[in-house]
């Protein structure tokens, strides 16, 4: 069993073990889960170190690393050929960073699961199932396998939000579930369409292999998604339609305006560890999917729609920031800031430039660390006094100095203070978007300028919150009662927060630790989609 399988199935197995263990051991479950995530972290750290940055991957099967390819389902369908589904895993520069991100965020999420008090067995079993599914999504290269993992994430998330969430948890869980399902159901149609359009040249069978789908030569002549045939469906090119459908499926996860409204509800109602996972990893699956699936399989459609994707990115940036300014609930503010920050990812990807895509990748990783940190911090406050209304607090800096220091780091890092990862990411995303018109003519220049207004607005809402909640004389809604409850961050919380802050700082000062590993892939990706 190789590393990728191990990293996927270890949590799954341990999840089953937890289900078998007697409930009397339930106080131990969190430690078991923590150990699993730490093992994962070690493995992904090892993968990071071993990863060969000189091989691109993207559309060449031989260039993927840690490949595992086993035939999985081979069903003879008579005249329809042979069903060919592989257990096909592998990583390249676009997916490897996310493995590390996921492992770290998972470990932090476990540390914040200490606040979960009820039904621990189910919680940790579902948690580990979610962990396995996410890892699977980032590793899978067979579209069928990818889809299975993709859908498998929904199930535990639905229950994790719906059972351990806040007051309106059922509404939020349902909304989240339906939204995502809405996207992925249509995705399934496209997957089937692709299956019937693509033939594995080696065996002559139809295949779900994503890498095979990226080569236009593998499409059956006259099939629905064949670029050469250029068929039309409902009056638009079939390939463009398929691109749009896939894009919407992933964009709901990112999320984009106007398909983002599940996010504030889901984030606000979810328990802290799940908020951390949602913001830290789930949103990135959207961005990763757009890169790996939408742009790589349909590069022609991508270049046609990049203007719109860029526009959606800019609108998300500004719209999310303006909404964040209007919030009274700290968690909701952070949720809207996520919408705003993920807009940069879309803008960077849409630019089709090396700078833009690298920036978008770094932005995803950086936002993973920072949003996890922000949600963790909100969770700390909520756990103490069960309130997160910004107007209920004042002068927290005096009461909780260490907490305030972490908040300052998280806020300033998020608003793009140089020295933290978000700055490099946002700056290069915007540079990419700005130079796009000169490089490939995909995006007009005003989009970059529009996006930079988001940087200004993010400073406004974070600083306003800081000033309103943390500065001034201490004055709390809950009076003296709260005063005793608002203890400063404890050791466990510090241990969870410190690596996140450090990663954000490290990526800000030495962005090469991320860029070096993905440069070749990004260059190849950009060459591939723009050629």
């Amino acid at each position: 069993m190789s590393l990728l399988s191990l990293i996927i199935f270890l949590p799954l197995l341990v999840g089953l073990v937890i289900l078998i263990l007697p409930a009397s051991l339930q106080q131990k479950f969190k430690y078991i889960t923590l150990v699993v995530t730490l093992i994962q972290l070690v493995i992904s750290g090892f993968i990071y170190l071993k990863f060969d940055p000189s091989i691109a991957g993207i559309h060449q099967e031989t260039q993927f690393q840690l490949v595992e390819k086993l035939s999985w389902i081979r069903l003879d369908l008579g005249t329809a050929g042979k069903l060919e589904i592989d257990y096909f895993l592998g990583i390249d520069g676009l997916s490897m960073p996310f493995l590390f991100l996921t492992s770290l965020i998972m470990a932090v999420a476990v540390l914040s699961s200490w606040e979960i008090k009820t039904n621990l067995k189910a919680f940790f079993a579902l948690f580990l199932l979610l962990d396995a599914a996410i890892m699977g999504v980032f590793c899978a290269l067979d579209f069928f396998l990818f889809y299975i993992f993709y859908e498998l994430m929904l199930l535990p998330l639905y229950f994790l939000i719906g059972m351990w969430g806040g007051i309106r948890r059922e509404y939020a869980a349902m909304k989240f579930f339906l939204y995502t399902l809405f996207g992925s159901v249509f995705m399934l149609l496209v997957i089937i369409g692709l299956y019937f359009s693509v033939v594995n040249p080696a065996t002559g069978n139809h295949t779900f292999n994503m890498i095979t789908m990226m080569d236009p030569a593998n499409f059956v002549q006259g099939s629905i998604f064949s670029a050469a045939a250029n068929l039309e469906l409902f009056g638009i090119s079939a390939r463009l339609l398929a691109f749009i459908v896939l894009f919407i499926a992933f964009a709901i996860k990112v999320p984009i305006v106007p398909l983002h409204t599940w996010l504030p509800d889901a984030h606000v109602e979810a328990p802290t560890p799940i908020s951390i996972i949602l913001a830290g990893i789930l949103l990135k699956i959207g961005g990763y999917g757009i890169l790996r699936v939408c742009f790589s399989i349909f590069p022609d459609a991508a270049s046609q729609s990049s203007w719109w994707i860029g526009l959606i990115g800019v609108v998300s940036i500004i719209y999310g920031a303006l909404n964040a300014l209007a919030q009274k609930d700290l968690k909701r503010l952070v949720a809207y800031s996520s919408v705003s920050h993920m807009g940069f990812v879309l803008l960077g990807i849409a630019s089709g430039t090396v700078e833009g895509v690298s920036g978008a990748m770094l932005q995803m990783i950086s936002h993973g660390f920072l949003s996890a940190m922000l949600f963790f911090l909100v969770g700390v406050l909520y756990q103490r006094v069960h309130d997160r209304d910004i107007y209920s607090f004042r002068g927290l800096a005096t009461l909780m100095p260490a907490y305030s220091a972490f908040i300052m780091v998280a806020f300033f890092a998020s608003l793009g203070l140089p020295g933290f990862s978000a700055f490099i990411a946002e700056a290069f995303t915007l540079i990419g978007a700005f130079s796009s018109e000169s490089v490939n003519g995909w995006l007009p220049r005003w989009m970059a300028i529009g996006g930079s207004i988001g940087i200004l607005l993010s400073a406004a809402y974070f600083l306003w919150t800081l000033q309103r909640m943390f500065f001034g004389q201490p004055r709390l809604k809950g009076g003296d009662n709260w005063l005793s409850q608002l203890s400063d961050v404890n050791l466990r919380e510090k241990i969870a927060l410190a690596p996140l802050a450090l990663m954000a700082l490290l990526l800000g000062i030495l962005p090469s630790i991320a860029f070096d590993k993905m440069n070749t892939s990004v260059i190849e990706f950009v060459r591939f989609i723009t050629s």
């Binding site: 983002h260 409204t261 719209y319 090396v354 690298s358 002068g395 540079i431 500065f471």
Partner: protein
């Protein structure tokens, strides 16, 4: 030579890192007792290194070192240091003044419980400022640029329990962010056009910017081309950044509010060093600016100078007067830049740094001592209000004399440093206007007017604070004692006073052209020297200045002056700072607030509304189908059953259990059968 250069590089990096080490220390160690010791040790070392590098670099060599920082795609971004005359001068200036302010703070901040944080923040500021100065790369420069803004945020909000301080810090950061967005847009343009951020490659001799040409409305560089408009946009965008940092109109309103920070901070950051970073930036990327942008800079500069000077006339808060004076002087430096005199602008930056820092430190000394009075006598009054001061000349003689020296330098009277640098700017601007003629002449004449306004407000300040009687005693009807500040505060002030005199900058007290700083920079535009200007202008300026000082003396020291009518329109305009805060509130903050409220309404009602509507539609359609299912589909099934039951119910009545009934029925059917059979046969 190479090895020596290596040494400078290591030393320069050390100079940056030593103060930052103080900041890192504060993150982990909460000990207040030795905080100042480490901070001063760090900054002293930094100062010594800077001075050493300065002596080696000035008019001699340029230290340039680069290392690869990271590679994004195919582009490698480097990080490095570039110490030329400009950077070396700034290094000495920053570390020198910083050191003095550190020493001053020993006494000024003595009783503050969070003193370790103060030291840490100051260290962070110094490190970032030095990085800004020596960065050889626009991206690194931008990073340092924002980081000094961040440390300024921390220091303005140092007394964060005061709401005013927290709000001022926020305002400062956000207004700077507006400028930063401009700076960032400038970076986009530079990167797109030239593919590098390297200052030396871009702006050096034979640099990329210099060799780019404009042809048929296209700006063509070696590595790319853009429409010519973007050259102007780039210039304006960078200037926007500079304007925010240097508090130029219309982004100037943060600086007066920044006075909520400790006075020592105001003197270091918001008077001498950080605010000058904008001027520094303009000097560093000067070749980028075209005629239009330069004119724009000149106009903005002179207008800011005028605006701030008029506001300073009527302010009663001692720090605010000085803050507006700073804005006004920065306007002068921008004017110099805009008229092409980089040397003049930098010269004024250097002289201004010393005397303005001194003015603030002196003001701080007064505030500090009055604070003691307030504490000791347990009376409540505003320690910064000049209306409550007066007669402090005898009580605080050192403060008085040093402050007078600084004021004279600000006014620009002969034998002070200010005389030299101000003349450099004024005369250059006259020559510049002369070569262009027409409406351009408005600019130097406005500058002239501003320098008289400067004379007036600073004289008013000095006379009100140090002469006459102590109005606080009169108001509260009590006798207070106030004495000179301690040595830690006194000596830095004395040193700064010495540095406000002419001989530091030029051996000739009256001729700015002899100054060694000016010789360190090339004049970007060589104008014809018009000798008449070099005598007439200084003479006029100073004569009228002396008259104004006398007028102030008559007004504020001699009894009998009724004061100007406070209902006067101009007085109110000046006192309310030209209503800028209110205008911004109405024109920007309110609409933006409404915008985000509207957007959130849109979000909840429309976007989420549509989603919920879709949800409701789902619910309604599902209840319709549930109805159909229940009453139609299931209805048919149940209907069959019901029908069978009904038939059963009907037929069970035949089952009476009475034999006769059965028999009758049987008979009936048999007979019927028979009859039917019979008749059908018959038919």
């Amino acid at each position: 030579m190479e090895a020596l250069s290596q040494n400078y590089i290591v030393l320069a990096i050390l100079a940056v890192l030593l103060p930052v080490a103080g900041f890192l220390r504060v993150l982990f160690i909460k000990n207040t007792s030795r905080a100042f010791f480490y901070a001063i040790a760090g900054i002293s070392a930094s100062f010594i290194i800077s001075a050493y590098i300065f002596t080696a670099v000035w008019n001699n060599q340029t230290v340039h070192y680069q290392a690869n920082w990271f590679t994004i795609g195919n582009t490698t971004i480097s990080i490095g240091i570039l110490i030329n005359n400009l950077a070396a001068l700034m290094m000495v200036l920053v570390t020198g003044i910083s050191l003095l302010v550190h020493i001053y703070s020993l006494a000024y901040m003595k009783n503050d419980p969070l003193i370790h944080r103060y030291c840490g923040y100051l260290g962070l500021f110094c490190g970032c400022m030095l990085l800004l100065v020596i960065a050889d790369n626009l991206l690194v420069l931008y990073m340092a640029w924002e980081l000094v803004g961040f440390s300024s945020y921390l220091l303005i909000g140092f007394w964060f329990t005061k709401d005013a301080a927290a709000i001022a810090a926020k305002k400062a950061f956000i207004m700077n962010r507006i400028g930063d967005v401009g700076f960032l847009i400038g970076l986009f343009i530079i990167y797109t056009q030239f593919g590098t951020f390297d200052i030396q490659k871009l702006f050096g001799e034979q640099g990329l910017v210099g060799s780019a040409i404009l042809h048929n409305g296209v700006w063509i560089a070696a590595s790319g081309q853009l429409p010519a408009m973007w050259l102007t946009v780039a210039g304006i965008a960078f200037f926007m950044g500079a304007a925010a940092k240097s508090a130029q109109f219309p982004l100037h309103t943060w600086l007066p509010d920044a006075m909520e920070g400790p006075t020592s901070v105001s003197s270091l950051i918001h008077a001498a060093t950080m605010v000058a970073a904008g001027v520094f930036l303009v000097a560093r990327i000067f070749p980028l600016f075209n005629e239009t942008v330069l004119l724009f800079i000149a106009i903005t500069g002179v207008f800011t100078a005028f605006l701030a000077a008029t506001i300073a006339l009527t302010q009663n808060d001692i720090k605010r007067v000085l803050a507006f004076s700073t804005i006004s002087q920065l306007g002068f430096m921008m004017l110099a830049m805009g008229t092409g005199s980089v040397a003049g602008g930098i010269f004024h930056l250097a002289t201004h740094a010393f005397f303005k820092c001194l003015l603030f430190l002196a003001a701080g000394a007064i505030i500090h001592e009055l604070g003691h009075v307030k504490e000791k006598e347990n009376v409540d009054f505003d320690t910064q209000d000049i209306r409550l001061m007066g007669g402090l000349r005898k009580r605080m003689p050192v403060t008085f004399y040093t402050m007078v020296v600084a004021s004279l330098a600000l006014v620009g009277l002969p034998f002070t440093s200010g005389y030299l640098s101000k003349d450099a700017i004024l005369i250059h601007s006259f020559e510049w206007a002369k070569s262009r003629g027409g409406l351009f002449k408005i600019i130097p004449y406005t500058a002239l007017l501003v320098s008289w306004l400067t004379t007036f407000y600073i004289s008013r300040l000095i006379f009100k604070v140090f002469f006459g009687e102590w109005r606080l005693q009169k108001k509260l009807n009590a006798i207070f004692s106030v004495h000179e500040s301690p040595a830690e505060m006194k000596y830095p002030m004395i040193i700064l006073a010495v540095f406000s005199l002419f001989f530091i900058f030029s051996y000739h007290p009256l001729l700015f052209e002899k100054s060694w700083i000016l010789s360190g920079f090339d004049q970007a535009e060589s104008l014809q020297r018009i000798n008449a200007f070099h005598t007439i202008i200084p003479a006029t300026v100073n004569l009228i200045s002396l008259l104004i000082i006398y007028l102030c003396y008559r007004w504020y020291v001699k009894p009998g002056f009724a004061g100007v009518a406070q209902s006067n329109f101009f007085y109110r305009l000046s006192e309310s700072q030209w209503y800028f805060d209110r205008i911004y509130d109405i024109l920007i903050i309110k609409p933006v607030t409404q915008l985000w409220t509207a957007v959130y309404w849109f979000e909840r009602r429309v976007v989420d509304g549509i989603v919920n509507l879709a949800g409701s539609f789902g619910i309604i359609s599902s209840s319709v189908s549930a109805w159909v299912d229940k009453y139609l589909i299931d209805g048919i099934v149940n209907g069959v059953a019901v029908l069978a039951k009904r038939i059963g119910d009907f037929s069970r009545h035949f089952q009476t259990g009475r034999l006769q009934h059965y028999l009758v029925t049987m008979l009936f059917f048999v007979l019927t059968f028979f009859v039917l059979k019979y008749f059908t046969q018959l038919l």
